[in-house]
Amino acid sequence: MYADEVKRDDEELVRLAREGDRAAFSALVVRHQNEVFTLALRLVGDRELAADVAQEAFVRGWRALPKFRGDAQFSTWIYRITVNTASSLRSRAARRRTEPLDDFTFEPHADGMSPERAGEIAEIRPHIEAALKVLPGGTRTVVVLKDVYGWSHPEIAEHLDITVTASKVRLHRGRKRLRVELWPYLKDTS
């Protein structure tokens, strides 16, 4: 299985990186940078800040490697670091510097879904992205983790340091707000 191969490769690279092999860690960054950046982008809703979050998450990941016990996949572990990093960096966003984005390249692509579904999502995607930005940061984080990444409420609560009830309340509010924001695009159901 491809997923098993990837997991085994990650395990080997993590083992080497834990021994101080920076090249192995760079290989892990190469492998996971797009997914980490994508998660960060969805959590903070800003490409420049998302790039900062991804950078900081990998640096924190390198420092925390000695504590990585390997009971989760590296991808799961680095995603969790990314969630925590996004949470802390977002609060500093007002103070962040502004730099030009002229040399950035973004090439979104869709994998593993039917053309019909991909079409439906492509049609509504820009509106959802805009609507997500309207949500307060904490609410958006819960909606993204639950509805996009399929995390459970207990997992979200643990990583955001909130109660399960608070996670459920934020999800309820977030979905209601999205429904209002996206009303014209949700009418046509099939």
């Binding site: 090249a23 760079s26 290989a27 960054v29 790039a51 090439e107 996009v148 949700l186 159901t189």
Partner: protein, 117 residues
């Protein structure tokens, strides 16, 4: 005009991952109420669209690997450096090539070791 039962359904729908998880009396109501069915369908479409995002991956900015590498190389981490600043951009190409090459060497070394084992 919506009934009390409609309002109860509409109140609960945002908390549910699927309308089938509504309480029994509300399920029976929904099977006969077009307004509630339409509202449930809106949430279903919202769920499908959000879940579909998981498969979409954005490409990270080119300077990310170089920026991470540069921070790990420096003593006393100065903090986040812009991945789009002129200096980083200049270093990015060389850094990215070096990181990718180093990663490739590690992978090739490891694959050889694995095939030899």
């Amino acid at each position: 005009m919506r009934s009390w039962t409609c309002r109860a359904v509409w109140l609960q729908l945002p908390s549910l991952d699927h309308p089938a998880r509504l309480a029994d009396p509300l399920i029976s109501h929904m099977s006969a109420c077009l307004n509630c069915q339409a509202e449930a369908a809106r949430y279903q479409r919202l769920h499908r669209s959000l879940a579909g995002f998981a498969a979409r991956v954005e490409v990270a900015p080119r300077g990310l690997i170089a920026a991470v590498d540069s921070r790990l190389s420096r003593r006393g981490d100065p903090g986040i450096s812009s991945v789009s600043g002129p200096a980083t951009r200049a270093a990015a190409a060389a850094g990215a090539v070096a990181a990718a090459a180093a990663g490739t060497v590690v992978m090739v070394r490891w694959m050889r070791a694995r095939s030899a084992a």
